[in-house]
């Protein structure tokens, strides 16, 4: 009775491999984390715009965000200390527009709740209508009714560009100083060196400025000149941004860039970088290993010498030197790193193929008349190819760690939001000396996460590769 031919890789059927992999605790954990990683990467690719690299490096895009800002959820742990970023647009305000001659009168009314220890840094007015600035800039007046019913008026303020910050204007400075002088006899509290917006939200007790908690009513009037109904300002072209001290899920860096987006973007980039490097390594090492072991003789000697040499090369210093000298981008670095890292893997493949080649069943195959290529195709490759997966997984962590280190030094392109680059800027801009933990900890954690996922996957694959470790 003939037994049905089972398809076996490295001595196990695919079913056994899958079962062996998943039955171990390590396998389950590895698969779970791996899926998480893949899902997040896909999410990043889907939600972020394809030109995110350019966006990331365009300071204007992030201008409205507070720099060095903590994540906004910090408030949940330490109480309402930091004012979050607030955007008031046509969903939150009441808008009305009317015409008198060729002047458009716009009134906007909204309220803002303030219950934090640290007020907003700045208020930005964004008027996104290009026609508006042709002849005379629009004029804006702001009246703020505070919780204690005192009123602050700021303006008239010309809106000379699309985005105007009110806290640094001379009008705001002098008007707020006046207000403080009248109410608190403390006009000298306000200096003009930085934005005076926070003072909108203070009162003065015993000579010290304290936050004034409550609801603030904002009444804003804008006069637009030389306008007609066809180019009238509509409510979706007008927006107010209160720049807070805390922002987003992961805070911001020195340019106010949203670290949540930056870290997210890092997923597909770092993964791509690591995988690419590992793939090149595996391709080269399989190639070299098989040729070396299979053809033997002078070829083997020659290739082995080259392999030994590559292993002993000081990869990291050379990578640094060349990155500096040639101004390499991250992709150049990836390729170079792969070119100097394939040695160890090639040795392993060579040993494997040697063992197969000198095995007795090969001898019998040769006697039976098998050609070299037949042996290669039917005996060598089926054993080597599955091993390459394992080899790939083992090479990825080293690639990611090395390339992150290079980025951290500020080399190999600091434009892309790789985690190494984020850390580079963190170190450059004193995150350590100022304690910006949200800038320092998450990127490294993510590097570690990705590296560890691959390491654990490799460990889970080991019983499949090494029969000695099977069966407990």
């Amino acid at each position: 009775m003939a037994r049905r031919r089972e398809f076996r890789i490295l001595g196990m059927t695919p079913g056994e491999i899958v079962k062996g992999f998943f039955s171990s605790d390590v396998g389950k954990v590895a698969t779970a984390f791996f899926l998480v990683m893949v899902v997040i990467s896909i999410y990043a690719l889907v939600t972020l715009p394809p030109n995110f690299g350019k966006v990331w490096n365009n300071p204007d895009y992030w201008r409205l965000n507070p720099p060095y800002a903590l994540p906004s959820w910090v408030n949940a742990f330490i109480g309402n200390v930091y004012a979050p970023q607030v955007i008031i647009n046509n969903h939150n305000y009441v808008f009305s527009s009317s015409y008198s001659g060729d002047t458009e009168y716009i009134t906007v009314y909204f309220t803002v709740d303030y219950h934090y220890k640290k007020p907003w840094n700045e208020i930005y007015v964004i008027l996104n209508n290009p026609v508006v600035y042709t002849s005379q800039p629009p004029i804006m007046e702001i009246t703020i009714t505070r919780p204690d019913n005192s009123k602050i008026t700021i303006g008239p303020l010309p809106l000379r560009s699309k985005v105007v910050s009110i806290g640094t204007t001379t009008q705001a400075v002098s008007q707020l100083s006046q207000f403080y002088q009248e109410y608190y006899q403390a006009g000298n509290l306000i200096t003009g060196t930085s934005s005076v917006t926070p003072y909108i939200f203070y009162n003065v007790t015993n000579g010290k400025a304290m936050p004034l908690i409550g609801t603030y009513k904002f009444q804003i009037t804008i006069y637009v000149f030389s306008s007609n109904t066809s180019s009238a300002v509509t409510s979706n072209e007008l927006e107010f941004v209160f720049q807070g001290n805390a922002y987003g899920l992961m805070g911001t860096d020195f340019e106010g860039r949203d670290l949540w987006l930056g870290l997210l973007a890092g997923f597909p980039i770092d993964l791509a970088v690591g995988l690419l490097s590992a793939i090149i390594v595996v391709v080269i090492s399989v190639f070299v290993g098989i040729i070396s072991a299979f053809f033997g003789g002078v070829t083997d000697e020659f290739l082995t010498r080259i392999t030994d040499f590559v292993i002993l090369l000081p990869a990291f210093p050379l990578l640094i030197v060349f990155s500096v000298l040639f101004g390499w981008s991250i992709w150049d670095a990836v390729i170079f790193l792969a070119l100097v890292s394939w040695g160890a893997s090639a040795r392993i493949i060579r040993v494997m193929v040697m063992q197969i080649r000198t095995a007795q069943y090969i001898e019998s195959a040769i006697i039976a008349g098998a050609s070299r290529w037949w042996i290669l195709r039917n005996h060598v490759l089926p054993q080597v190819i599955p091993y390459t997966l394992y080899l790939l997984v083992t090479n990825v962590p080293a690639a990611i760690l090395t390339l992150s280190a290079i980025n951290f030094l500020g080399l190999a392109g600091s434009e892309l939001p790789t985690w190494g680059n984020i850390l580079y800027y963190a170190e450059e801009f004193g995150a350590l000396t100022s304690g910006y933990w949200w800038w320092v900890i998450p990127p490294g954690l993510l590097i570690a996460f990705v590296a560890v996922v691959f390491i654990i996957t490799a460990i889970a694959l080991e019983p499949v590769i090494n029969p000695r470790l099977r069966y407990g």
Binding site: P314, L318, V321, I441, I447, I455
Partner: protein
């Protein structure tokens, strides 16, 4: 092939490697990079000249002359006026006879005189203290743990160690250093804890100069030793946390493989007690593999992530010097870079060679053919 012949062949191999590496770095710094170097030289000259103009002491023509002078001098220094190959061999020759010359930017290192040899020697003890000692300590502790783990295969202890090893291998060492500084240096000082750790450096300023010139003297002063240890704590802990795991995993694998050998089973059948089985039948056969990998790692540490770790802690070692020479200098400090690469590779091949001899001593099977 006889023993001595094998060893001679290996030695020849390693020497060729040294020459090739030296060639690569020298050529890179003098050959294809010449255009870029020229640009950087011009940039540097321009920056110096602009500074001088700001100070207002020189007029336009003087500025032009000075600019040309600087460009010429730097070009000569880089050998940009000669064909690349000649430059390369000239550099290599000087390296080999240990004529390492002077650094281009001596002020970055704080060593009087700026001789490359001095700079490297001043950083050498720091590297030994942190990197070498750190790796050795990690290896000893890690191997102990790995051995225990292998002997208790499948237990909770074993699995914890495996997870720890996987985790520690994936964490960037330099990042952990940053986190350590954040927590134990920054936050401790913020909450005004009585015990704080320094933000970096190898010693406090009052002993620093002494260390650079005559480190041995530092060891004679008790307060200086305490200061050194205080500075050493955070970096050393970082190194240990990251590296112990890897060694534990490695030792565990080696021991597990050997435990499955027939002679180990037979030792048990002979009624030998557990500690004898472990010592004579597991550790002794494992010794060559384990010892050689300790030896192999030693030279690599300058080449690897320790470079960045030293930088993070501003620890005055070869890695930090390397970093200054390549990355932080306005243009690459070629004498230092080449000399360091050469010295490290030389050290490496010496250690590899010693290791081959050691292997032969430990494994009788290799002794004769």
């Amino acid at each position: 092939m006889s023993l001595s012949k094998t060893l001679t062949l290996r030695m020849a191999n390693l020497l060729i490697l040294l020459l090739v590496v030296l060639f690569m770095v020298s050529y890179a710094l003098s050959g294809p990079a010449s255009k870029i170097l020229m640009q950087e030289v011009q940039q540097e000259a321009r920056a110096i000249v602009i500074n001088m103009m700001r100070s207002g002491h020189v007029n336009a023509t003087q500025v032009q002359v000075i600019y040309n002078n600087i460009v010429n001098q730097l070009s000569k220094a880089y050998g940009l006026d000669q064909p690349p190959l000649i430059r390369t061999f000239y550099i290599m020759y000087n390296m080999l006879i240990f004529n390492w010359g002077y650094s281009y930017f001596p002020q970055e290192y704080g060593i009087a005189g700026g001789k490359v040899v001095d700079i490297i020697m001043s950083a050498f003890p720091g590297t030994i203290l942190l990197d070498t000692f750190g790796i050795l300590l990690s290896a000893f502790i890690g191997i102990e743990i790995g051995l225990k783990s292998a002997l208790r295969y499948g237990s909770q202890f074993d699995r914890t160690i495996m997870y720890y090893a996987a985790l520690s291998n994936g964490i960037p060492q330099w990042w952990l250093g940053i986190v350590m500084l954040l927590v134990f240096s920054f936050y401790l000082s913020v909450i005004r804890s009585p015990i704080q750790f320094p933000t970096g450096g190898i010693l406090s300023p009052n002993y620093y100069a002494m260390w650079l010139v005559n480190p041995i003297k530092v060891f004679t002063i008790p307060q200086a030793i305490v200061d050194l240890l205080w500075h050493l704590t955070l970096p050393l802990i970082t190194v240990l946390v990251i590296n112990i795991g890897g060694w534990a995993y490695f030792a565990r694998t080696v021991v597990l493989n050997i435990s499955q050998e027939d002679f180990v089973t037979f030792a048990k059948i002979k009624g030998l007690p557990e500690n004898q089985v472990v010592n004579r039948y597991i550790l002794r056969p494992a010794a060559p593999t384990i010892l050689t990998s300790i030896f192999i790692t030693l030279p690599f540490i300058i080449f690897g992530g320790f470079l960045v770790t030293e930088m993070v802690f501003r620890w005055w070692g070869l890695g930090y010097v390397y970093n200054i020479a390549i990355v932080q200098s306005p243009t690459p400090d070629m004498p230092v870079v080449v000399a360091l690469t050469y010295a490290s590779t030389l050290l490496y091949i010496i250690i590899v060679f010693l290791m081959e001899i050691l292997y032969i001593i430990l494994d009788p099977r290799l002794r004769e053919r």
